[in-house]
Symmetry: C2
Subunit: 277 residues, 2 copies
């Protein structure tokens, strides 16, 4: 494993780092970012995963959310993957909602995507191993959060690994991807026409299984993609019918931007830390 | 005055707005950003000016500093100008430290710059009038802060208008521009070879006049431009000899980035609010 530190900035007493590496799972060069709190008291440090939305890289959350203040306050490490495999030899599409920047956190089975588009395995296996070597005094406790396509990713990865992740949260997630244009397009391309294969990547299906981690969702009423892409009704109905702990909060006047995320991030960190301790 | 609202995002209960307009002073189209706190208690609202550094626009501080949390907490409006005149018909230079993105907050006297490069007058007159119309319940109280070239700008504009601005602060400012490469290059181009004309735009000269506003400066020890461009010794010597209130803080391990600014911004807001009330 050849991990290269390409950026390091002191931030709120901790360190904001960016690494590049060759991913065996994705078969391409990747970057990711990680924040390590100062840990002045030499305690065990839990880890929160952040998954970004369409068109993002690991930089968006690092640079625009202000999360470092909270990660240092709560003494938690934060791991931020990129949103897809990358590179000239990696399949792509002219649209911004398919291909590079739009990996949807699944393992593709269809051509031309199947060779590289394995973001699920990349995160759950390869990056997980890397994270465990980078977080000093790692407590082994993890939770996961994300935004939009990354909210879908957090819900799916968190629920497919329900014993591993202590909490899940999402800002304006695609919670029923099989029913909305972004999800239908991506799933048809990456997984094929057979909708039976979509169910394991659809949060509104996964929530039907008992014993999922507690979930917090925040949605702005002025979100330009709400409700078309982000309709919550099917997900919430299935959550309620299966007695899952889902806190769904609508916030007046907020849109889909990082200004919205930054505003409510403290609520999400507090929710995660309650379950990580 | 044709002011056009081109972006508006709810942020920490307030509104983050971006406007475009034709500037009479600069003779070109400009953008600026302004944050208006929620003012739920219907009080009088003071105004802090933020001036950005080389290569920045008004977006850098809006998107990367997390200042909105503090502006809402303290119920203060924040005005963020661009860093130079803009446009294809506006003089420019291939270097990133001269021309567009590098206005140095002065009024140029030399060709080809003199027609458009009047950032001092643009801010102190034209944008000031605009700000007073945009801030509801404006208290009339103002202070000014900035970063790097914008730290120079905050010091110079704040001291040239010492009765108007209640406090000045700067992150890693160019505090002796007449003595460092960035400043010498810009002043020679914009003001000419006669160094007598440089003095009114050099904070280390302006600080010699009695009765300047209180000043806070924060400087990272790992700043890649320190001390070459950001040497503080001459400024601090002149401040001390003239009994000015200058608080200069060096912070271990921090660099020149917005990660540094975000970390110490709360200290700066607290300093400003102490003097704005």
């Amino acid at each position: 494993m050849s991990l290269k530190l390409i950026e390091q900035h002191r931030s709120f007493d901790g360190e904001q780092c960016k690494y590049s590496h060759f991913s065996e799972v994705l078969q391409c060069d990747m970057t990711f970012s990680i924040y390590l709190p100062s840990n002045k008291e030499k305690k065990k440090i839990p880890l929160i995963w952040w998954l970004s939305g369409l068109t993002c890289t690991d930089d968006n959350f690092s640079q625009k959310s202000g999360f470092q203040r909270l990660a240092e306050k709560y003494q938690v490490a934060v791991m931020i993957p990129d949103t897809s495999p990358r590179g000239e030899h990696v399949a792509n599409d002219e649209a911004w909602d398919l291909g590079q920047g739009a990996g949807f956190y699944l393992n593709a089975t269809q051509e031309p995507w199947a060779k590289h588009y394995k973001m699920y395995s990349y995160i759950v296996e390869e990056l997980t191993d890397i994270a465990s070597t980078l977080v000093p005094n790692f407590s082994g406790e993890e939770s996961i959060m994300g935004h939009s396509m990354g909210g879908h990713g957090a819900l799916v990865i968190g629920m497919k690994n329900a014993r591993r992740f202590k909490a899940i949260s999402a800002f304006s997630p695609i919670s029923s991807p099989s029913r909305v244009p972004w999800g239908i397009k991506a799933f048809t391309s990456y997984l094929g026409e057979d909708q039976a294969s979509w169910k394991e990547w659809d949060a509104s299906e996964l929530i039907k299984k008992a014993g999922m981690p507690p979930i917090l969702i925040t949605q702005g009423t002025q979100d330009e993609f709400y409700p078309i892409q982000l309709d919550e009704t099917n997900f919430l109905k299935n959550a309620q019918e299966n007695n899952q702990e889902v806190h769904y909060k609508k916030v007046e006047g907020y849109d889909h931007s990082y200004f919205f995320i930054a505003t409510f991030l403290e609520d999400h960190f507090a929710f995660h830390m309650k379950h990580l301790r």
